[in-house]
Symmetry: C2
Subunit: 142 residues, 2 copies
DNA sequence: TCAACAGTTTAGAATAAATATAATGTATTA
DNA sequence: TAATACATTATATTTATTCTAAACTGTTGA
C-alpha cells in the first residue's frame, strides 16, 4: 500500500518505529483530504470508530507529541481546558468562536504579516500566532 | 485611605462585596506601579507573603474570574499547564520565552495593527492576540 | 530464522489545575 | 441589630495530562 509506506517512512524519519498503533494514528491524521483541528480525546474517538485497533491514551499522547517535535503537527495556542492540535502546519492563524468552542482557520493571505518591531537580545522568534476571538454580532439584529 | 476606597469602588462596580480578602487581592493586583503577569498560584503566594490574611484558592479563583468578566484582568492565550493572567488590559501582545517560561509584553506600538481581511457571517471580533514564541538565537554564537 | 535487545504499548496510578460543595462566617439592609 | 444574601473556606471532585512498570513487538545480526 502506497499510503502505509508513506506513513512508515514518515515514522522512520521521526525516529519512531512503525507500529500498528502509530500507522493508524497516521492514517487518521494525514490521510484526510483536508487538514483539521482535534483534541486528544477526539482523536482517540475517531480511531475507535474507524479501526478495530485499540490504542491507549498514553500512546496517542506520546505519538502526538513526537509528531509535534518533528513539526508534523502543531498546537494551537488557546486557553482551553484541553489542548487543541492542528494537522495544518503551514503558516496560518485562527478564529476561535467562544460561544461554539470552534476553531476556524484564517489563511495566511487573509492576514497582513505580523511585523514585530521589538527584539529581545539573544533571542529569535520561532513562531507568531494570531488568535482572533469571535462572538455573535448582535448589533446587526437590533 | 484613598486606595482602599478605590478598590471598594472597583469591587462594587463589579457587583462584588468588598471583603477583606478581595481588598487584599486588589491591593496586590492593582496597587503596583507596573502591570504584571501572574498565575493563580503565584498570586496566592504573593498574598501570603504580603499579608497576614489567609485567602483560600477558591476565593482567588472566584475573584480573578470576576475581575476577568469585568475586564479588570485578562487571560493570556498560552498553552501552559496553568493559566497566565495579565493586569495590563490595554491592547498589547506578548513574547513567550519557551526556555525560561517567561512572558514579555510587546507594546501595541511595536506591532503593526493586525488586519484580518476575512470575516465570519454573524460574528464579530472581540479580541486579537498575538503570541510570538522566542528561543535562544544560537546563530550568533557560532 | 531466531534470539536478544531496544523501543513500544498498555492499564492503571499519580499529578495538578480548576471547579464544585456545603458548612460556617460576614457584609448589607431595613 | 436581626435577618438575609452573599462570601469564604476546607475539602472533595473532576478532568487533562504525565508517569510507571510490566507485558509486548519491531529490529538487528548471527
Amino acid at each position: 500500500m502506497a499510503h502505509s509506506d508513506q506513513y512508515i517512512d514518515k515514522l522512520r524519519k521521526s525516529g519512531l518505529r512503525p507500529t500498528k498503533q502509530r500507522i493508524k494514528i497516521c492514517e487518521v491524521l494525514f490521510d484526510a483530504d483536508k487538514t483539521f483541528h482535534f483534541t486528544i480525546k477526539e482523536l482517540v474517538k475517531i480511531i475507535e470508530n474507524q479501526a478495530n485497533i485499540k490504542v491507549s491514551l498514553a500512546t496517542v499522547y506520546n505519538t502526538v507529541h513526537a509528531f509535534m517535535r518533528k513539526g508534523y503537527l502543531k498546537e494551537i495556542p488557546l486557553n482551553a481546558s484541553q489542548s487543541y492540535y492542528d494537522t495544518n502546519v503551514t503558516h496560518h492563524h485562527h478564529f476561535f468562536d467562544e460561544e461554539e468552542n470552534k476553531l476556524i482557520d484564517i489563511h495566511q493571505d487573509d492576514v497582513d504579516e505580523v511585523n514585530i518591531k521589538r527584539t529581545i537580545p539573544g533571542k529569535k522568534i520561532r513562531s507568531v500566532e494570531v488568535i482572533a476571538k469571535i462572538v455573535s454580532d448582535n448589533q446587526s439584529q437590533k
